[in-house]
Amino acid sequence: MTAVLTVEGLTKEFGGVRAVDELGFTISEGAIFSIIGPNGAGKTTLFNLITGVYTPTEGRVFFGGEFIGGKTPYNLADMGLSRTFQNLQIFMNMTAVENVMVGLHRHLDKRIDHALFRIGGMARKEREAREKAAELMAFVGLGQYVNHDAASMSYGALKRLEIARALATGPRLLLLDEPAAGLNPSETGEIDELIRKVSESGVTVALVEHDMHLVMGISDHILVLDYGRKLTEGTAEHVRHDPEVIAAYLGSEAAAVKG
């Protein structure tokens, strides 16, 4: 199987604390690859490193076989890397559909003269972009919210809006940082379905999630982090029975891991 993403010896220090510690793994094309671990394990930091939001202290990341060190998030978006955020990063100063249209940015006409004078077929291109964005909103189940102000939407709807926006960039690899956090069981079920739908559409998914029921059911491969290090990785079956994982999760989540 082709590797979409390869991480080698990745390390990030924050003032002496190693949030990510010599981490290595590979995500295969088409997989749903989950990353789990207790709070503060370094999952979000890992996503920030992969997407160019943070610069690694050490280590290398390859995306589609290409070394991506030093690339900015917008370079990586152009290459087909997209993500959502654990703490929502919605453009609250726009409508829902405009949020998704920002996701389409790299496919749109960015010429300033075309924009200022509304020439070069701008009116038509904008209409098409809006339709495309509305389709994506329907895909994530937000069809009825197209012209709503983002600021007026519920938390659950905004979680999905972020997914629609991320999909709009046309990703090869989509990183989802806790898409089900703060959702009720029925909403979580819908997110589960949505992730499967995204995966079926040919997008490789990397998923960070605390909901073990969701993770165990959906993942092709699971990576377990603790204190920035890899505890273990493998199938749900393998991870579920790993004594170290059970030890790390002692407490509230242990039962869920055991299933």
Binding site: F91, H105, E131, R165
Partner: protein, 327 residues
């Protein structure tokens, strides 16, 4: 569901207002105020793209107005250039300067950006004050009237229409820009820089672009101001002028093109009304800025339009429910 477009009907209303205003205004004093409203509004529309839409502050934009004014004054006066090429070359120069300044300055955020742009405005104002050989120093300098081939553009009656047309063009450009991929990228920078970047938006590049555009709006307005007033002085580029401009944008409404026009209108008229209490002017501006931030942080036009929009939104929601998602 209709995929509607933000209305440009406002542009038509503005055109009608501009068209009928001269028949209402009793004399040239009022025409003069109207012209100055238009000139300020053009600067504010540009500044609003920067502050209201992209979320970047500038406390030095009067500097660009001043450069536009002096550029035109010097090129037409000292070098005998025709007014239009002088205005364009000045705008180009200001664009280049803004471009060079933007990268280091817009890397800063919050108060640091405010301080840096403040410094930029002050430096421009000092240069205009001290390079007396070119600028006439603190006394300012007289400006040649604008010649349009053989025709001399002179007097309120003519300038009114020129500024009115320029204002309409500025509003049109701003509305177009906002409702385009570039405009959304600017708003995305305001909404969440990290999310904008992840969506493929080179945020630094867009900040630079909007800074340059807003500087050009200011420069062109300054050029017209110079020819219209037949005189330029470092006052036009002063720190207080920069604060006035920001107050206009904030009062009228962040992220509202028409808000910028409304803000410019109110705060251009106000000093005329307060003319007898000149010392109060600065205080009143400060007070308006404070009160707006406390009680109406979104500014007049967005606050009022949200009030009026409440019912149409409800209607839309109902029709959606009946339409059953016929997207």
């Amino acid at each position: 569901m209709t995929l509607k477009h933000p209305s440009t009907g406002g542009l038509l209303i503005l055109a009608v207002i501009i068209a009928i205003l001269p028949s209402i205004l009793p004399n040239n004093f009022y025409m003069d105020v109207a012209i100055r409203i238009g000139l300020n509004a053009i600067v504010c529309i540009g500044l609003n793209l920067l502050i209201g839409y992209a979320g970047q502050i500038s406390l030095g934009h009067a500097g660009f107005v001043g450069l536009g004014a002096y550029g035109s004054a010097i090129l037409t006066g000292e070098f005998g250039w025709p007014a239009i090429p002088a205005m364009l070359v000045t705008a180009l120069f200001v664009a280049l300067l803004a471009f060079v300044l933007a990268r280091p300055v817009l890397r800063l955020k919050g108060h640091f950006l405010a301080m840096a742009t403040l410094g930029m405005g002050i430096i421009i104002s000092i240069v205009l004050n001290t390079e007396a050989r070119w600028t006439g120093g603190p006394d300012g300098m007289a400006v040649q009237p604008m010649m349009f081939f053989e025709y001399m553009v002179f007097g309120e009656a003519v300038w009114y229409w020129i500024v009115g047309a320029a204002l309409l063009i500025a509003v049109w450009l701003s509305l177009n820009l906002i409702d385009s991929p570039v405009g959304r990228a600017l708003r995305a920078v305001h909404g969440s820089e990290v999310a904008a970047e992840v969506c493929g938006v080179n945020t630094t590049q867009y900040k630079v672009k909007v800074f340059v555009i807003s500087a050009v709006f200011a420069s062109v307005s300054g050029s017209m101001l110079a020819h219209y007033g037949a005189f330029v002085s470092p006052e036009d580029a002063s720190f207080f002028r920069s604060i006035e401009l920001v107050t206009m944008v904030v009062l009228g409404g962040m992220a509202s093109t028409y808000g910028a026009v409304v803000g410019a209108t109110i705060l251009t008229i106000l000093p005329q009304a307060l003319a007898r209490f000149e010392d109060l002017e600065h205080m009143v501006f400060g007070l308006i800025l404070m009160l707006t931030m406390i009680f109406m942080p979104k500014g007049l036009v967005p606050t009022l339009s949200a009030k009026f929009r409440r019912s149409p939104v409800k209607v839309e929601a109902e029709s959606e429910a009946q339409g059953g998602g016929a997207t």
